[in-house]
Protein backbone atom coordinates (compact mmCIF):
# COMPACT_ATOMS: atom_id res chain seq x y z
CA UNK A 1 0.00 0.00 0.00
CA UNK A 2 2.74 2.46 0.91
CA UNK A 3 4.70 1.24 -2.06
CA UNK A 4 1.66 1.77 -4.28
CA UNK A 5 1.36 5.29 -2.90
CA UNK A 6 4.96 5.87 -3.87
CA UNK A 7 4.30 4.56 -7.37
CA UNK A 8 1.45 7.03 -7.54
CA UNK A 9 3.67 9.93 -6.55
CA UNK A 10 6.17 8.97 -9.24
CA UNK A 11 3.38 8.86 -11.81
CA UNK A 12 2.21 12.19 -10.43
CA UNK A 13 5.71 13.58 -10.93
CA UNK A 14 5.22 13.26 -14.70
CA UNK A 15 1.71 14.74 -14.55
CA UNK A 16 3.06 17.65 -12.52
CA UNK A 17 5.96 18.43 -14.89
CA UNK A 18 3.70 18.30 -17.94
CA UNK A 19 0.87 20.21 -16.26
CA UNK A 20 3.35 22.85 -15.11
CA UNK A 21 4.60 23.40 -18.66
CA UNK A 22 1.05 23.58 -19.99
CA UNK A 23 0.00 26.00 -17.26
CA UNK A 24 2.98 28.31 -17.72
CA UNK A 25 2.42 28.47 -21.48
CA UNK A 26 -1.31 28.91 -21.07
CA UNK A 27 -0.83 31.64 -18.49
CA UNK A 28 1.55 33.69 -20.58
CA UNK A 29 0.22 33.07 -24.09
CA UNK A 30 -3.34 31.86 -23.61
CA UNK A 31 -2.42 28.85 -25.74
CA UNK A 32 -3.43 25.31 -24.87
CA UNK A 33 -0.59 23.33 -26.36
CA UNK A 34 -1.88 20.02 -27.68
CA UNK A 35 1.62 19.22 -28.96
CA UNK A 36 2.88 19.09 -25.38
CA UNK A 37 2.58 15.32 -25.39
CA UNK A 38 4.44 15.14 -28.68
CA UNK A 39 7.32 17.12 -27.17
CA UNK A 40 7.35 14.77 -24.18
CA UNK A 41 7.62 11.90 -26.67
CA UNK A 42 10.39 13.76 -28.53
CA UNK A 43 12.21 14.17 -25.22
CA UNK A 44 12.23 10.42 -24.68
CA UNK A 45 13.23 9.74 -28.29
CA UNK A 46 15.84 12.45 -28.13
CA UNK A 47 17.64 10.76 -25.27
CA UNK A 48 17.25 7.39 -26.99
CA UNK A 49 18.77 8.66 -30.23
CA UNK A 50 21.56 10.48 -28.41
CA UNK A 51 22.53 7.28 -26.60
CA UNK A 52 22.00 4.93 -29.52
CA UNK A 53 23.67 6.93 -32.28
CA UNK A 54 26.04 9.27 -30.49
CA UNK A 55 26.82 7.46 -27.25
CA UNK A 56 25.66 10.45 -25.20
CA UNK A 57 24.72 9.19 -21.74
CA UNK A 58 21.61 9.84 -19.67
CA UNK A 59 23.08 12.67 -17.61
CA UNK A 60 24.15 14.67 -20.64
CA UNK A 61 20.81 14.00 -22.30
CA UNK A 62 19.04 15.27 -19.19
CA UNK A 63 20.52 18.70 -19.88
CA UNK A 64 20.93 18.61 -23.64
CA UNK A 65 17.50 17.37 -24.74
CA UNK A 66 15.40 19.93 -22.82
CA UNK A 67 17.73 22.68 -24.09
CA UNK A 68 17.34 21.60 -27.70
CA UNK A 69 13.59 21.16 -27.44
CA UNK A 70 13.27 24.47 -25.63
CA UNK A 71 15.13 26.08 -28.52
CA UNK A 72 12.83 24.37 -31.01
CA UNK A 73 9.92 25.70 -28.95
CA UNK A 74 11.13 29.29 -29.24
CA UNK A 75 11.46 28.92 -33.00
CA UNK A 76 7.98 27.47 -33.17
CA UNK A 77 6.59 30.36 -31.17
CA UNK A 78 8.34 32.96 -33.34
CA UNK A 79 7.27 31.41 -36.62
CA UNK A 80 3.72 30.27 -35.99
CA UNK A 81 2.21 30.54 -32.53
CA UNK A 82 2.80 34.32 -32.47
CA UNK A 83 1.00 34.74 -35.77
CA UNK A 84 -2.12 33.03 -34.45
CA UNK A 85 -2.01 34.65 -31.03
CA UNK A 86 -4.31 37.59 -31.84
CA UNK A 87 -7.01 35.21 -33.05
CA UNK A 88 -9.26 33.00 -30.98
CA UNK A 89 -7.17 30.59 -28.85
CA UNK A 90 -8.95 27.72 -30.58
CA UNK A 91 -6.86 28.32 -33.70
CA UNK A 92 -3.64 27.75 -31.80
CA UNK A 93 -5.18 24.65 -30.25
CA UNK A 94 -5.98 23.34 -33.73
CA UNK A 95 -2.52 24.33 -34.96
CA UNK A 96 -0.74 22.44 -32.18
CA UNK A 97 -3.10 19.50 -32.75
CA UNK A 98 -1.93 19.30 -36.36
CA UNK A 99 1.65 19.67 -35.22
CA UNK A 100 1.23 16.79 -32.77
CA UNK A 101 -0.10 14.54 -35.54
CA UNK A 102 2.87 15.43 -37.76
CA UNK A 103 5.52 14.86 -35.08
CA UNK A 104 3.94 11.62 -33.91
CA UNK A 105 3.69 10.09 -37.36
CA UNK A 106 7.15 11.28 -38.42
CA UNK A 107 8.64 9.40 -35.48
CA UNK A 108 6.36 6.43 -36.17
CA UNK A 109 7.56 6.22 -39.75
CA UNK A 110 11.16 6.31 -38.63
CA UNK A 111 11.05 3.94 -35.65
CA UNK A 112 7.80 1.99 -35.92
CA UNK A 113 5.30 1.59 -33.10
CA UNK A 114 7.24 -0.90 -30.99
CA UNK A 115 8.96 0.38 -27.89
CA UNK A 116 12.66 1.20 -27.89
CA UNK A 117 14.78 0.06 -24.95
CA UNK A 118 16.57 2.60 -22.81
CA UNK A 119 18.75 1.36 -19.93
CA UNK A 120 18.67 2.88 -16.48
CA UNK A 121 21.73 5.00 -15.76
CA UNK A 122 24.25 2.84 -13.85
CA UNK A 123 24.37 5.12 -10.86
CA UNK A 124 20.63 4.68 -10.27
CA UNK A 125 20.20 1.01 -11.11
CA UNK A 126 19.95 -0.18 -7.52
CA UNK A 127 17.26 0.19 -4.91
CA UNK A 128 16.99 2.65 -2.07
CA UNK A 129 15.96 1.48 1.38
CA UNK A 130 13.06 3.72 2.37
CA UNK A 131 12.74 2.22 5.84
CA UNK A 132 9.67 0.05 5.32
CA UNK A 133 10.49 -1.20 1.84
CA UNK A 134 13.17 -1.03 -0.81
CA UNK A 135 12.39 1.15 -3.82
CA UNK A 136 14.10 1.49 -7.20
CA UNK A 137 16.62 4.32 -6.96
CA UNK A 138 15.68 5.63 -10.39
CA UNK A 139 12.05 6.23 -9.42
CA UNK A 140 13.15 8.09 -6.31
CA UNK A 141 15.39 10.21 -8.51
CA UNK A 142 12.50 11.04 -10.88
CA UNK A 143 10.32 12.10 -8.00
CA UNK A 144 13.09 14.23 -6.54
CA UNK A 145 13.83 15.97 -9.85
CA UNK A 146 10.17 16.72 -10.42
CA UNK A 147 9.66 18.13 -6.93
CA UNK A 148 12.83 20.25 -7.15
CA UNK A 149 11.95 21.60 -10.61
CA UNK A 150 8.37 22.45 -9.62
CA UNK A 151 9.58 24.11 -6.41
CA UNK A 152 12.25 26.04 -8.30
CA UNK A 153 9.69 27.33 -10.80
CA UNK A 154 7.47 28.31 -7.91
CA UNK A 155 10.30 30.25 -6.25
CA UNK A 156 11.19 31.97 -9.51
CA UNK A 157 7.56 32.94 -10.09
CA UNK A 158 6.95 34.29 -6.61
CA UNK A 159 10.32 35.66 -5.51
CA UNK A 160 12.08 37.12 -8.55
CA UNK A 161 11.52 40.06 -10.83
CA UNK A 162 11.13 37.79 -13.86
CA UNK A 163 8.48 35.82 -12.03
CA UNK A 164 6.71 39.01 -11.07
CA UNK A 165 6.58 40.14 -14.69
CA UNK A 166 5.34 36.77 -15.88
CA UNK A 167 2.63 36.69 -13.21
CA UNK A 168 1.61 40.26 -13.93
CA UNK A 169 1.51 39.58 -17.67
CA UNK A 170 -0.60 36.51 -17.01
CA UNK A 171 -3.12 38.42 -14.94
CA UNK A 172 -3.36 41.70 -16.82
CA UNK A 173 -1.28 41.86 -19.99
CA UNK A 174 -2.52 45.30 -21.01
CA UNK A 175 -1.94 46.88 -17.65
CA UNK A 176 1.52 45.35 -17.41
CA UNK A 177 2.36 46.79 -20.80
CA UNK A 178 1.05 50.16 -19.74
CA UNK A 179 3.48 50.09 -16.82
CA UNK A 180 6.33 50.06 -19.30
CA UNK A 181 7.16 46.37 -19.30
CA UNK A 182 7.84 44.70 -22.61
CA UNK A 183 5.54 41.70 -22.25
CA UNK A 184 6.23 40.47 -25.77
CA UNK A 185 9.88 39.94 -24.89
CA UNK A 186 8.96 37.30 -22.31
CA UNK A 187 6.48 35.36 -24.39
CA UNK A 188 9.01 33.46 -26.50
CA UNK A 189 11.30 32.37 -23.65
CA UNK A 190 8.34 31.28 -21.54
CA UNK A 191 6.99 29.16 -24.38
CA UNK A 192 10.42 27.62 -24.90
CA UNK A 193 10.70 26.94 -21.19
CA UNK A 194 7.34 25.16 -21.14
CA UNK A 195 8.43 22.96 -24.04
CA UNK A 196 11.74 22.27 -22.29
CA UNK A 197 9.79 21.02 -19.26
CA UNK A 198 7.93 18.57 -21.49
CA UNK A 199 11.27 17.46 -22.93
CA UNK A 200 12.68 16.99 -19.44
CA UNK A 201 9.70 14.82 -18.50
CA UNK A 202 10.33 12.80 -21.65
CA UNK A 203 14.00 12.21 -20.83
CA UNK A 204 13.02 11.14 -17.31
CA UNK A 205 10.42 8.77 -18.75
CA UNK A 206 12.80 7.06 -21.18
CA UNK A 207 14.43 4.60 -18.73
CA UNK A 208 11.21 3.60 -16.95
CA UNK A 209 8.46 3.84 -19.54
CA UNK A 210 8.06 2.44 -23.03
CA UNK A 211 9.72 4.79 -25.54
CA UNK A 212 7.31 4.78 -28.47
CA UNK A 213 5.71 7.37 -30.76
CA UNK A 214 2.32 7.12 -29.08
CA UNK A 215 3.52 7.63 -25.50
CA UNK A 216 2.68 11.33 -25.45
CA UNK A 217 -0.74 11.51 -27.02
CA UNK A 218 -2.79 9.58 -24.48
CA UNK A 219 -0.81 11.02 -21.59
CA UNK A 220 -1.45 14.60 -22.61
CA UNK A 221 -5.21 14.13 -22.63
CA UNK A 222 -5.00 12.78 -19.08
CA UNK A 223 -2.88 15.82 -18.21
CA UNK A 224 -5.63 18.06 -19.65
CA UNK A 225 -7.99 16.44 -17.16
CA UNK A 226 -5.42 17.05 -14.40
CA UNK A 227 -5.20 20.73 -15.38
CA UNK A 228 -8.98 21.04 -15.37
CA UNK A 229 -9.11 19.49 -11.90
CA UNK A 230 -6.31 21.68 -10.55
CA UNK A 231 -7.92 24.83 -11.77
CA UNK A 232 -7.93 26.36 -15.20
CA UNK A 233 -5.18 28.93 -15.34
CA UNK A 234 -3.70 28.16 -11.92
CA UNK A 235 -0.05 27.13 -11.98
CA UNK A 236 -0.02 26.00 -8.37
CA UNK A 237 -3.28 24.10 -8.85
CA UNK A 238 -1.90 22.25 -11.88
CA UNK A 239 1.18 21.01 -10.03
CA UNK A 240 -0.69 20.10 -6.87
CA UNK A 241 -3.35 18.28 -8.88
CA UNK A 242 -0.59 16.47 -10.80
CA UNK A 243 0.85 14.86 -7.67
CA UNK A 244 -2.56 14.35 -6.08
CA UNK A 245 -4.04 12.65 -9.14
CA UNK A 246 -1.01 10.40 -9.45
CA UNK A 247 -1.45 9.34 -5.83
CA UNK A 248 -5.22 8.90 -6.03
CA UNK A 249 -5.16 6.89 -9.26
CA UNK A 250 -2.45 4.58 -7.91
CA UNK A 251 -4.46 3.93 -4.75
CA UNK A 252 -7.65 3.60 -6.76
CA UNK A 253 -5.90 1.07 -8.93
CA UNK A 254 -5.11 -0.93 -5.79
CA UNK A 255 -8.75 -1.15 -4.72
CA UNK A 256 -10.66 -1.00 -8.01
CA UNK A 257 -8.29 -2.09 -10.78
CA UNK A 258 -11.00 -1.76 -13.44
CA UNK A 259 -11.05 2.01 -12.92
CA UNK A 260 -7.29 2.54 -13.26
CA UNK A 261 -7.50 4.55 -16.47
CA UNK A 262 -10.88 6.19 -16.03
CA UNK A 263 -10.60 7.37 -12.42
CA UNK A 264 -8.97 10.67 -13.33
CA UNK A 265 -11.84 11.50 -15.68
CA UNK A 266 -14.43 10.57 -13.06
CA UNK A 267 -12.63 12.90 -10.66
CA UNK A 268 -12.70 15.59 -13.33
CA UNK A 269 -16.46 15.17 -13.72
CA UNK A 270 -16.91 15.40 -9.95
CA UNK A 271 -14.80 18.54 -9.72
CA UNK A 272 -16.66 20.15 -12.62
CA UNK A 273 -19.93 19.43 -10.89
CA UNK A 274 -18.77 20.84 -7.60
CA UNK A 275 -16.43 23.63 -8.67
CA UNK A 276 -16.64 24.25 -12.43
CA UNK A 277 -13.52 26.41 -12.39
CA UNK A 278 -11.42 23.68 -10.78
CA UNK A 279 -10.03 23.37 -7.28
CA UNK A 280 -7.73 26.39 -7.50
CA UNK A 281 -9.16 28.04 -10.59
CA UNK A 282 -10.58 31.45 -11.15
CA UNK A 283 -14.07 32.05 -12.43
CA UNK A 284 -12.88 33.48 -15.74
CA UNK A 285 -13.06 30.05 -17.28
CA UNK A 286 -16.80 30.05 -17.01
CA UNK A 287 -19.12 31.45 -19.56
Amino acid sequence: MLQQAFNGLVGGAFYALLALGLAVIFGMLGVVNFAHGAFYMLGAFGSYVLLDSFGVNFWAALVLVPLLLGLAGTVLERLFIRRLAPLDPLYNFLFTFGLALILQDLVKREYGVQSQPYPRPGLLSGTVDLGLFGYPAYQVFVLAVSVVVCAAVWVVLTRTRVGMIVRAATERPDLTRALGIDVGRWVTPVFGFGIALAGLAGVLAAPMRAVNPLMGADLIITVFAVVVIGGLGSIFGSVAAGFAIGLVSALGNLYVPALSQTLVFILMAAVLLWRPAGLFGREEALS
Binding site: V32, F80, R83, L84, L87, D88, P89, L90, Y91, F93, L94, F95, F97, G98, L99, A100, L101, I102, L103, Q104, D105, L106, K108, R109, A217, D218, I221, T222, F224, A225, V227, V228, L232, A258, Q261, T262, F265, I266, M268, A269, L272, L273, P276, E284, A285, L286, S287
Partner: protein, 339 residues
Protein backbone atom coordinates in the same frame (compact mmCIF):
# COMPACT_ATOMS: atom_id res chain seq x y z
CA UNK B 1 -29.11 38.25 -61.58
CA UNK B 2 -32.12 37.98 -59.32
CA UNK B 3 -33.24 34.88 -61.12
CA UNK B 4 -29.84 33.27 -60.72
CA UNK B 5 -29.87 34.04 -57.04
CA UNK B 6 -33.32 32.56 -56.60
CA UNK B 7 -32.39 29.56 -58.69
CA UNK B 8 -29.11 28.95 -56.97
CA UNK B 9 -30.39 27.18 -53.87
CA UNK B 10 -32.73 24.65 -55.55
CA UNK B 11 -30.07 24.05 -58.18
CA UNK B 12 -27.45 23.37 -55.54
CA UNK B 13 -29.83 21.12 -53.65
CA UNK B 14 -30.72 19.18 -56.78
CA UNK B 15 -27.05 18.85 -57.68
CA UNK B 16 -26.28 17.59 -54.19
CA UNK B 17 -29.10 15.06 -54.32
CA UNK B 18 -28.01 13.77 -57.72
CA UNK B 19 -24.44 13.50 -56.46
CA UNK B 20 -25.59 11.60 -53.37
CA UNK B 21 -27.53 9.18 -55.56
CA UNK B 22 -24.79 8.74 -58.14
CA UNK B 23 -21.86 8.46 -55.72
CA UNK B 24 -21.61 4.63 -55.48
CA UNK B 25 -21.53 4.45 -59.31
CA UNK B 26 -18.66 6.91 -59.44
CA UNK B 27 -16.39 5.57 -56.73
CA UNK B 28 -15.79 2.39 -54.78
CA UNK B 29 -19.09 1.89 -52.84
CA UNK B 30 -17.56 1.45 -49.35
CA UNK B 31 -15.73 4.77 -49.84
CA UNK B 32 -18.99 6.36 -50.96
CA UNK B 33 -20.61 5.15 -47.74
CA UNK B 34 -17.68 6.52 -45.72
CA UNK B 35 -18.10 9.90 -47.39
CA UNK B 36 -21.82 10.05 -46.73
CA UNK B 37 -21.44 9.10 -43.06
CA UNK B 38 -18.52 11.45 -42.41
CA UNK B 39 -20.41 14.22 -44.23
CA UNK B 40 -23.31 13.93 -41.78
CA UNK B 41 -20.82 13.76 -38.90
CA UNK B 42 -19.16 16.97 -40.11
CA UNK B 43 -22.50 18.75 -40.59
CA UNK B 44 -23.60 17.71 -37.09
CA UNK B 45 -20.34 18.99 -35.65
CA UNK B 46 -20.70 22.27 -37.53
CA UNK B 47 -24.11 22.71 -35.93
CA UNK B 48 -22.19 23.00 -32.68
CA UNK B 49 -18.97 24.68 -33.84
CA UNK B 50 -20.27 27.03 -36.50
CA UNK B 51 -23.72 27.84 -35.19
CA UNK B 52 -23.34 27.64 -31.42
CA UNK B 53 -19.66 28.58 -31.19
CA UNK B 54 -18.64 25.49 -29.24
CA UNK B 55 -15.61 23.52 -30.42
CA UNK B 56 -16.15 19.96 -29.27
CA UNK B 57 -13.00 17.90 -29.47
CA UNK B 58 -14.77 14.86 -28.11
CA UNK B 59 -17.32 13.94 -30.75
CA UNK B 60 -15.61 10.61 -31.28
CA UNK B 61 -17.41 9.58 -28.10
CA UNK B 62 -20.76 9.97 -29.87
CA UNK B 63 -19.76 8.74 -33.31
CA UNK B 64 -17.89 5.75 -31.86
CA UNK B 65 -20.17 5.20 -28.89
CA UNK B 66 -23.08 4.92 -31.26
CA UNK B 67 -21.05 2.66 -33.54
CA UNK B 68 -20.66 0.20 -30.67
CA UNK B 69 -24.24 0.60 -29.46
CA UNK B 70 -25.66 0.05 -32.95
CA UNK B 71 -23.38 -2.92 -33.56
CA UNK B 72 -24.34 -4.48 -30.23
CA UNK B 73 -28.04 -4.02 -30.94
CA UNK B 74 -27.64 -5.59 -34.39
CA UNK B 75 -25.57 -8.51 -33.06
CA UNK B 76 -27.68 -9.36 -30.04
CA UNK B 77 -31.20 -8.56 -31.13
CA UNK B 78 -31.15 -9.16 -34.87
CA UNK B 79 -33.41 -6.14 -35.35
CA UNK B 80 -33.40 -4.45 -38.78
CA UNK B 81 -30.47 -2.11 -39.29
CA UNK B 82 -32.37 1.21 -39.17
CA UNK B 83 -33.55 0.33 -35.66
CA UNK B 84 -29.97 -0.42 -34.66
CA UNK B 85 -28.75 2.86 -36.15
CA UNK B 86 -31.46 4.87 -34.42
CA UNK B 87 -30.70 3.00 -31.20
CA UNK B 88 -27.09 4.11 -31.58
CA UNK B 89 -28.20 7.70 -32.09
CA UNK B 90 -30.35 7.54 -28.95
CA UNK B 91 -27.42 6.10 -27.02
CA UNK B 92 -25.21 8.96 -28.24
CA UNK B 93 -27.81 11.50 -27.10
CA UNK B 94 -28.08 9.89 -23.67
CA UNK B 95 -24.29 9.85 -23.37
CA UNK B 96 -24.14 13.51 -24.43
CA UNK B 97 -26.50 14.62 -21.69
CA UNK B 98 -24.13 14.33 -18.68
CA UNK B 99 -21.05 15.22 -20.74
CA UNK B 100 -22.76 18.28 -22.15
CA UNK B 101 -24.20 19.25 -18.78
CA UNK B 102 -20.72 19.38 -17.27
CA UNK B 103 -19.03 20.98 -20.30
CA UNK B 104 -21.31 23.74 -21.57
CA UNK B 105 -20.62 25.88 -18.55
CA UNK B 106 -17.01 26.26 -19.69
CA UNK B 107 -15.78 28.80 -22.17
CA UNK B 108 -14.09 28.28 -25.53
CA UNK B 109 -10.83 26.48 -25.15
CA UNK B 110 -11.79 24.88 -21.82
CA UNK B 111 -14.84 23.37 -23.44
CA UNK B 112 -12.58 21.78 -26.07
CA UNK B 113 -10.27 20.34 -23.39
CA UNK B 114 -13.05 18.92 -21.26
CA UNK B 115 -14.93 17.31 -24.14
CA UNK B 116 -11.65 15.80 -25.31
CA UNK B 117 -11.04 14.39 -21.84
CA UNK B 118 -14.53 12.89 -21.56
CA UNK B 119 -14.19 11.28 -24.97
CA UNK B 120 -10.90 9.75 -23.84
CA UNK B 121 -12.73 8.32 -20.86
CA UNK B 122 -15.25 6.69 -23.20
CA UNK B 123 -12.32 5.33 -25.20
CA UNK B 124 -10.75 3.76 -22.11
CA UNK B 125 -14.06 2.22 -21.05
CA UNK B 126 -14.59 0.69 -24.51
CA UNK B 127 -11.00 -0.55 -24.56
CA UNK B 128 -11.23 -2.18 -21.14
CA UNK B 129 -14.70 -3.68 -21.37
CA UNK B 130 -13.47 -6.51 -23.56
CA UNK B 131 -16.34 -8.92 -22.93
CA UNK B 132 -18.80 -6.48 -24.41
CA UNK B 133 -16.77 -4.57 -26.97
CA UNK B 134 -14.01 -6.95 -28.02
CA UNK B 135 -11.32 -4.55 -26.78
CA UNK B 136 -8.63 -3.84 -29.33
CA UNK B 137 -10.13 -6.21 -31.88
CA UNK B 138 -13.34 -4.22 -32.08
CA UNK B 139 -16.73 -5.72 -32.60
CA UNK B 140 -16.82 -7.86 -35.70
CA UNK B 141 -19.39 -9.76 -37.70
CA UNK B 142 -22.21 -7.23 -37.33
CA UNK B 143 -25.19 -8.37 -39.43
CA UNK B 144 -26.73 -6.00 -41.96
CA UNK B 145 -30.19 -6.89 -42.98
CA UNK B 146 -33.61 -5.42 -43.45
CA UNK B 147 -36.62 -7.76 -43.17
CA UNK B 148 -34.60 -10.74 -44.31
CA UNK B 149 -32.97 -8.79 -47.13
CA UNK B 150 -29.20 -9.22 -47.09
CA UNK B 151 -27.44 -5.86 -47.29
CA UNK B 152 -23.85 -6.99 -46.86
CA UNK B 153 -23.02 -5.56 -50.29
CA UNK B 154 -21.87 -1.98 -49.66
CA UNK B 155 -23.49 -0.82 -52.87
CA UNK B 156 -26.89 -2.00 -51.68
CA UNK B 157 -26.34 -0.83 -48.13
CA UNK B 158 -25.50 2.66 -49.35
CA UNK B 159 -28.94 3.08 -50.84
CA UNK B 160 -30.61 1.48 -47.85
CA UNK B 161 -28.83 3.90 -45.50
CA UNK B 162 -29.20 7.00 -47.69
CA UNK B 163 -32.73 7.93 -46.55
CA UNK B 164 -31.58 7.93 -42.91
CA UNK B 165 -28.50 9.99 -43.74
CA UNK B 166 -30.53 12.47 -45.78
CA UNK B 167 -33.02 12.73 -42.95
CA UNK B 168 -30.04 13.61 -40.74
CA UNK B 169 -29.00 16.39 -43.13
CA UNK B 170 -32.54 17.73 -43.27
CA UNK B 171 -32.61 17.73 -39.47
CA UNK B 172 -29.38 19.74 -39.24
CA UNK B 173 -30.63 22.16 -41.88
CA UNK B 174 -34.01 22.55 -40.18
CA UNK B 175 -32.40 23.19 -36.80
CA UNK B 176 -30.10 25.84 -38.22
CA UNK B 177 -32.98 27.63 -39.99
CA UNK B 178 -35.39 27.41 -37.08
CA UNK B 179 -35.97 30.08 -34.43
CA UNK B 180 -34.02 27.76 -32.14
CA UNK B 181 -31.08 27.93 -34.55
CA UNK B 182 -31.24 31.74 -34.59
CA UNK B 183 -31.02 31.78 -30.82
CA UNK B 184 -27.96 29.53 -31.04
CA UNK B 185 -26.29 32.01 -33.40
CA UNK B 186 -27.09 34.87 -31.05
CA UNK B 187 -25.53 32.87 -28.22
CA UNK B 188 -22.43 32.32 -30.35
CA UNK B 189 -22.11 36.00 -31.17
CA UNK B 190 -23.07 37.52 -27.84
CA UNK B 191 -23.96 35.18 -24.99
CA UNK B 192 -24.37 38.04 -22.53
CA UNK B 193 -27.02 39.70 -24.65
CA UNK B 194 -28.80 36.43 -25.34
CA UNK B 195 -28.92 35.86 -21.60
CA UNK B 196 -30.16 39.38 -21.01
CA UNK B 197 -32.93 38.83 -23.55
CA UNK B 198 -34.16 36.02 -21.38
CA UNK B 199 -32.83 32.97 -23.18
CA UNK B 200 -31.48 30.28 -20.85
CA UNK B 201 -28.10 30.14 -22.56
CA UNK B 202 -26.79 26.99 -20.95
CA UNK B 203 -29.94 25.02 -21.66
CA UNK B 204 -29.80 26.07 -25.33
CA UNK B 205 -26.15 25.06 -25.54
CA UNK B 206 -26.89 21.72 -23.91
CA UNK B 207 -29.75 21.04 -26.30
CA UNK B 208 -27.53 21.91 -29.28
CA UNK B 209 -24.84 19.61 -27.88
CA UNK B 210 -27.25 16.69 -27.47
CA UNK B 211 -28.75 17.23 -30.94
CA UNK B 212 -25.31 17.37 -32.49
CA UNK B 213 -24.29 14.21 -30.61
CA UNK B 214 -27.42 12.33 -31.69
CA UNK B 215 -26.85 13.16 -35.37
CA UNK B 216 -23.15 12.30 -35.10
CA UNK B 217 -24.31 9.07 -33.52
CA UNK B 218 -26.67 8.34 -36.39
CA UNK B 219 -23.76 8.78 -38.80
CA UNK B 220 -21.40 6.68 -36.68
CA UNK B 221 -23.95 3.90 -36.21
CA UNK B 222 -24.57 3.66 -39.95
CA UNK B 223 -20.82 3.74 -40.55
CA UNK B 224 -20.28 0.75 -38.24
CA UNK B 225 -23.28 -1.17 -39.59
CA UNK B 226 -22.19 -0.48 -43.16
CA UNK B 227 -18.78 -1.94 -42.51
CA UNK B 228 -20.15 -4.73 -40.32
CA UNK B 229 -17.56 -3.71 -37.79
CA UNK B 230 -17.18 -1.29 -34.86
CA UNK B 231 -13.54 -0.36 -34.35
CA UNK B 232 -11.71 1.03 -31.35
CA UNK B 233 -10.38 3.76 -33.62
CA UNK B 234 -13.91 5.15 -33.91
CA UNK B 235 -13.82 6.32 -30.27
CA UNK B 236 -10.19 7.53 -30.38
CA UNK B 237 -9.26 11.22 -30.25
CA UNK B 238 -7.94 11.15 -33.81
CA UNK B 239 -11.54 10.60 -34.94
CA UNK B 240 -12.68 13.75 -33.15
CA UNK B 241 -9.77 15.63 -34.71
CA UNK B 242 -10.58 14.37 -38.18
CA UNK B 243 -14.18 15.55 -37.91
CA UNK B 244 -13.04 18.98 -36.74
CA UNK B 245 -10.62 19.12 -39.64
CA UNK B 246 -13.39 18.39 -42.15
CA UNK B 247 -15.47 21.24 -40.76
CA UNK B 248 -12.58 23.72 -40.72
CA UNK B 249 -11.43 22.68 -44.19
CA UNK B 250 -14.92 23.11 -45.61
CA UNK B 251 -15.58 26.31 -43.70
CA UNK B 252 -16.83 26.77 -40.15
CA UNK B 253 -20.45 27.81 -39.99
CA UNK B 254 -21.23 26.96 -43.60
CA UNK B 255 -22.89 23.59 -42.99
CA UNK B 256 -22.31 22.31 -46.55
CA UNK B 257 -18.63 23.13 -46.33
CA UNK B 258 -18.25 20.28 -43.86
CA UNK B 259 -19.77 17.94 -46.43
CA UNK B 260 -17.16 18.97 -48.99
CA UNK B 261 -14.43 18.69 -46.36
CA UNK B 262 -15.61 15.19 -45.51
CA UNK B 263 -15.56 14.12 -49.14
CA UNK B 264 -12.04 15.44 -49.67
CA UNK B 265 -10.59 13.99 -46.47
CA UNK B 266 -12.13 10.55 -46.99
CA UNK B 267 -10.90 10.51 -50.60
CA UNK B 268 -7.42 11.59 -49.49
CA UNK B 269 -7.26 8.95 -46.76
CA UNK B 270 -8.42 6.30 -49.19
CA UNK B 271 -5.76 7.36 -51.66
CA UNK B 272 -3.01 7.30 -49.02
CA UNK B 273 -4.07 3.84 -47.88
CA UNK B 274 -4.18 2.62 -51.48
CA UNK B 275 -0.65 3.77 -52.26
CA UNK B 276 0.52 2.31 -48.95
CA UNK B 277 1.70 5.53 -47.33
CA UNK B 278 1.96 4.76 -43.63
CA UNK B 279 2.16 8.27 -42.24
CA UNK B 280 -1.38 9.58 -42.70
CA UNK B 281 -0.94 11.81 -39.67
CA UNK B 282 1.86 13.69 -41.43
CA UNK B 283 -0.46 14.60 -44.29
CA UNK B 284 -3.50 15.22 -42.09
CA UNK B 285 -1.46 17.28 -39.65
CA UNK B 286 0.08 19.35 -42.43
CA UNK B 287 -3.34 20.11 -43.90
CA UNK B 288 -4.53 21.09 -40.43
CA UNK B 289 -1.59 23.45 -39.96
CA UNK B 290 -1.99 25.03 -43.39
CA UNK B 291 -5.74 25.59 -43.02
CA UNK B 292 -5.30 27.17 -39.62
CA UNK B 293 -2.46 29.42 -40.76
CA UNK B 294 -3.70 30.67 -44.11
CA UNK B 295 -7.11 29.26 -45.03
CA UNK B 296 -9.30 29.83 -42.01
CA UNK B 297 -12.50 30.51 -43.93
CA UNK B 298 -12.39 27.11 -45.55
CA UNK B 299 -13.48 26.11 -49.04
CA UNK B 300 -17.16 27.00 -48.86
CA UNK B 301 -16.52 30.19 -46.94
CA UNK B 302 -13.93 31.35 -49.46
CA UNK B 303 -16.15 30.46 -52.41
CA UNK B 304 -19.07 32.32 -50.89
CA UNK B 305 -16.94 35.38 -50.22
CA UNK B 306 -15.67 35.38 -53.79
CA UNK B 307 -19.18 35.07 -55.11
CA UNK B 308 -20.42 37.84 -52.83
CA UNK B 309 -17.56 40.08 -53.93
CA UNK B 310 -18.36 39.40 -57.58
CA UNK B 311 -22.04 40.11 -57.38
CA UNK B 312 -21.53 42.83 -54.81
CA UNK B 313 -24.36 41.43 -52.76
CA UNK B 314 -24.45 40.48 -49.16
CA UNK B 315 -27.09 38.79 -47.15
CA UNK B 316 -26.63 40.08 -43.65
CA UNK B 317 -28.07 38.31 -40.69
CA UNK B 318 -28.02 34.90 -42.26
CA UNK B 319 -27.08 32.24 -39.78
CA UNK B 320 -23.67 30.94 -40.54
CA UNK B 321 -22.62 34.12 -42.21
CA UNK B 322 -21.26 35.44 -38.94
CA UNK B 323 -17.58 34.79 -39.27
CA UNK B 324 -17.11 35.03 -42.99
CA UNK B 325 -19.56 37.60 -44.25
CA UNK B 326 -18.12 40.96 -43.51
CA UNK B 327 -14.68 40.29 -44.79
CA UNK B 328 -13.15 40.37 -41.34
CA UNK B 329 -10.61 37.69 -40.57
CA UNK B 330 -12.47 34.61 -39.46
CA UNK B 331 -13.99 35.63 -36.23
CA UNK B 332 -13.68 33.62 -33.10
CA UNK B 333 -15.87 30.61 -33.03
CA UNK B 334 -16.20 29.70 -29.41
CA UNK B 335 -15.49 32.87 -27.55
CA UNK B 336 -18.04 35.55 -27.20
CA UNK B 337 -17.81 38.40 -24.81
CA UNK B 338 -16.97 36.97 -21.41
CA UNK B 339 -19.64 37.65 -18.87
Amino acid sequence: MILSRLARRPLLLAAGLVLALALPWMIYPPVALDMACWALFAAALDLLLGFTGLLSFGHAAFWGGSAYAAALIAVHSGLPFPVAALGGAVFAAVLALPIGYLSVRLRGIYFAMVTLAFAQMVYFVVNQWRDLTGGENGLQGVPRELFGLDLSDSFVFYYAALPLLLAGFVAVWRVVRSPFGRVLVSIRDNPARAQALGYPVERYKLLAFVLSAALSGLAGGLFALGHGFASLESVYWTTSGQAVMMVVLGGIGTLWGGVIGAGLVVELNDYLVTVGFDGIGIVTGTIFVIIVLVFRRGIWGTARDLLAARTGRRRPGEPGSGDTQDGAPARTPGVGTPV
